[in-house]
């Protein structure tokens, strides 16, 4: 039977669903019988979910507009036959 330490060691693969089915079943049984490991599993899942579920805040307007400027230059250069070669440095910083 797996111990709490075994569970913790396998937690990554458990969360990523990359364990063979017999190991997974044993760990599931452990988690159902062990309140502490259940809490660790549940709150680790929630940690991942809360990060996945939150869009970052908008980037500062100045950074956005410098990005747009740099891209527009690149797009204009491509249209005028300038090719898609070198990367332009940012227009100001």
């Amino acid at each position: 039977m797996p111990t709490c330490k075994d569970f913790l060691r396998e937690l990554g693969d458990f969360l990523d669903d990359s364990l063979d089915s017999s190991t997974r079943q044993q760990l599931e049984k452990h988690v159902n019988d062990c309140p502490n490991c259940w809490v660790v599993l549940d709150t680790t899942k929630k940690t991942i979910q809360v990060y996945k579920g939150h869009e970052p805040q908008a980037i500062p307007a100045a950074i956005h507009s410098r990005l747009v400027d740099a891209l527009q230059k690149k797009m204009a250069a491509k249209k005028s036959g300038g090719g898609a070669g070198s990367v332009q440095p940012k227009s100001s910083s």
Binding site: D13, D42, T47, H54, E55, I63, A70, A84
Partner: protein, 204 residues
Amino acid sequence: MAETPTFDETSLVVRAKAGDDEAFSELVNQYERRIFRTARNITQNDEDAEDVLQEAFLKAYSNLDSFQGNSKFYTWLVRITVNEALMKLRKRKTDRSVSLDEKLDTGEDTVIREIAVWDGTPEQRYSQEEIRGILDREIETLEPIYRTVFQLRDIDELSTEETADSLGISIPAVKSRLLRARLQLREKLTRFFQRKGDDVLAYL
């Protein structure tokens, strides 16, 4: 990850590849904040992150023909971003605070201190802005080698292999860093999201 309902990455990429700059600009608008966050989480400062943001989108634009559609466009974009960000780090190699070099794994078990059930969802106690502030602040306190792997695997949703390949580290290193990152963040977030009045139980 939450996306606007009208956003269709595949058709925008098809149009952009056919030379539709407006479609490419829509992709930029959709992803610039995420790319900036990824760049910032690797370089750890706004100025370098801005350089990386620009270089990543300019390279993606120039090399759009080489995007074969074998992965999501966003995954491809993240990999370009990581590459640019790592080049930045190499340029300022004297700054050891952001080193992503392989560390000797001591094999120590990750310590669990906080065992407490969370309230239903963080949204029931905090506003979206407050949660975003907490998430940003807490991820910043992780060591770079953990933060970067968590960013790529759990936020940007690269595979273990893609993450290993992008960072030039082994698959076991990705896995062990990811587990440590997840557990450290879990611990940090528990302080904010645990159910009020719960005692911290002893573990093991």
